[in-house]
């Protein structure tokens, strides 16, 4: 009992110490709009992503949450008909500026997808691929260390350390997803975007990834799209609710799930529509 109290006290103190860095705005969306051809999918979204916090994007299918997520590392550039308006900054720098190198941006803002998508290569190569193309390791020993650290941070090292040369595709779904997270971490990103990272995983694998997200928050800023209300409530500190392409409400997760301001948020999270 005492140990728990001390633990929670420590956490409280730690939270207080973190409070300052939590106020730093890592990424900012300013009147962000997205068009797919003539069709507008996102309207005037103003949303701040705070450093070292997990921001959850929720809302019914087609509400624009994934579209917004994909704006944050210019993944929408890969769709020919997509056009982004407004402004998105990373550390106050406009990421849609002409001088921005998109490859470098995507190294700083990494992404984990809904379905685990390891490369058809060895576990080692899956993680080493990013650092190699970005020239992050000069010697093999450096690369070995990056791979080991990344796999450790993604909480999968113990499961794969003896089979690093086996194909990544041979792992279980949950392991594959953590491998993908290790791959994203390997290039030392500042922000990690996760698009429904647990939707293809069983409850235990989901719990592992959620635990991991909480640990990763110490070093990275995370934005996660999820359809699971409980997951959003568990892993995030801030929640943003989207509906029909508009940002309906954004606020502290604790409040959003006990007493939201907007009726649409209330209806959605309580299962009254969507």
């Amino acid at each position: 009992m005492n140990i728990m109290t001390e633990q929670s006290l420590e956490n409280a103190v730690g939270d207080k110490m973190n409070a300052k860095s939590n106020e730093v705005i890592k990424m900012r969306g300013d009147k962000v709009g997205v068009f797919y051809g003539d069709k507008q999918a996102l309207f005037d979204v103003n949303l701040d992503v705070r450093q070292n916090q997990v921001t959850a994007l929720i809302g019914p299918s087609g509400c624009g949450k994934s579209t917004f997520l994909r704006c944050l590392n210019r993944m929408n550039d890969t769709i020919d008909s997509a056009r982004v308006t407004g402004k998105i900054t990373l550390d106050d720098e406009d990421i849609y500026d002409k001088n921005i190198d998109v490859v470098e941006l995507r190294a700083r803002v990494g992404m984990v997808f809904q379905k685990p998508n390891p490369f058809p290569k060895s576990i080692y190569e899956n993680v080493a691929y990013g650092p190699r193309i970005h020239g992050l390791a000069k010697r093999k020993a450096d690369m070995d260390q990056i791979v080991e650290q990344s796999l450790k941070k993604a909480a999968i090292w113990n499961e794969v350390k003896d089979r690093l040369q086996e194909p990544g595709t041979g792992l279980s779904g949950g392991q594959q997803q953590r491998l993908c997270i290790a791959r994203a971490i390997a290039v030392s990103p500042e922000v990690i975007l996760m698009d429904e990272p647990c939707s293809a995983l069983d409850p235990i694998a989901t719990a592992r990834v959620e635990e991991l997200i909480d640990e990763l928050r110490q070093n990275y800023t995370i934005v996660i799209v999820t359809h699971s209300m409980q997951q959003a409530a568990r892993v995030s500190q801030r929640t943003a609710m989207f509906h029909l392409g508009y940002l309906v409400e954004e606020g502290a997760t604790d409040k959003m799930f006990t007493n939201p301001d907007d009726k649409r948020t209330q209806d959605y999270i309580t299962g009254r529509f969507g």
Binding site: M229, F257, T258, T270
Partner: protein
């Protein structure tokens, strides 16, 4: 409030809400019955209140089961979550009100045997009316979703506390006047204390109901006045 996509979710919530209403009605009838039994030395009525307590307990257990199952099955959020958790807590207070009413009812026989209570108990009558009005009020305001009325009702508990102080003094005077009154007055004092405690549970229910309806907590401090605690520690 719109309906849930899953219709049986609405049914589950409605069932819990109905149980709370039933428990509220039962609490009201038990408090009313026990005080009437006390004032009229009506042993049969007292007996009915005592047996009603078993129904109250069964309702609370059913509500607990249903609420826990609903949380496990539906993972309610926001207002639904507040309604379910609030119901569990309100059911606890209603069950305690039932216990306290039963306690009063059990004293009816003893008080009646020792002395004609009517002379001694008219100030308790006034207090009982106040308590009954509070019990009735909290059930009605919650059913009507009237948060402002609940906040006011919670503060009105102060009147019961003041009344309790005056009943306490009055009974003390009777005991000093004639030691033969001591047995009856002591029982009546316990009854008064039980009524005062019922008032406190009504306050808890009002606070919970307010939270369920608004998502906001009422301020922690409310007016409180129980001078007996200062003048006589034995109270």
């Amino acid at each position: 409030m719109g309906e849930h996509t899953v219709a049986s979710f609405d049914e589950d919530l409605e069932h819990i809400s109905k149980l709370i209403r039933d428990m509220g009605d039962l609490a009201r009838s038990m408090v009313g019955g026990s005080t009437r039994a006390l004032l009229n030395s009506d042993n049969a009525l007292a007996q009915r209140v005592v047996s009603d307590d078993a129904i109250m307990d069964a309702r609370q257990r059913e509500l607990d089961d249903r609420a826990i199952t609903l949380i496990a099955k539906r993972q309610p959020m926001a207002n639904d979550l507040r309604a379910v958790v609030g119901s569990i807590r309100m059911a606890g207070d209603l069950e305690r009100i039932g216990d306290l009413a039963k306690n009063i009812a059990k004293r009816v026989g003893t008080v009646g045997l020792s002395i004609t209570p009517r002379d001694l108990s008219h100030s308790i009558d006034a207090m009982a009316q106040l308590v009954l009005a509070q019990v009735q009020g909290v059930i009605e305001e919650y059913a009507a979703s009237d948060a402002a009325a609940l906040a006011k009702l919670r503060n009105d508990d102060e009147r019961i506390d003041v009344k309790y102080t005056s009943v306490f003094r009055e009974l003390l005077t009777y005991m000093m006047e004639d030691p033969r009154n001591i047995t009856a007055c002591t029982h009546l004092l316990f009854c008064a204390k039980n009524l005062e405690r019922i008032g406190d549970h009504v306050t808890n229910i009002a606070e919970n109901a307010y939270y369920v309806l608004t998502g906001q907590q009422l301020p922690a401090n409310r007016p409180k006045l129980d001078e007996t605690a200062m003048s006589a520690p034995a109270a």
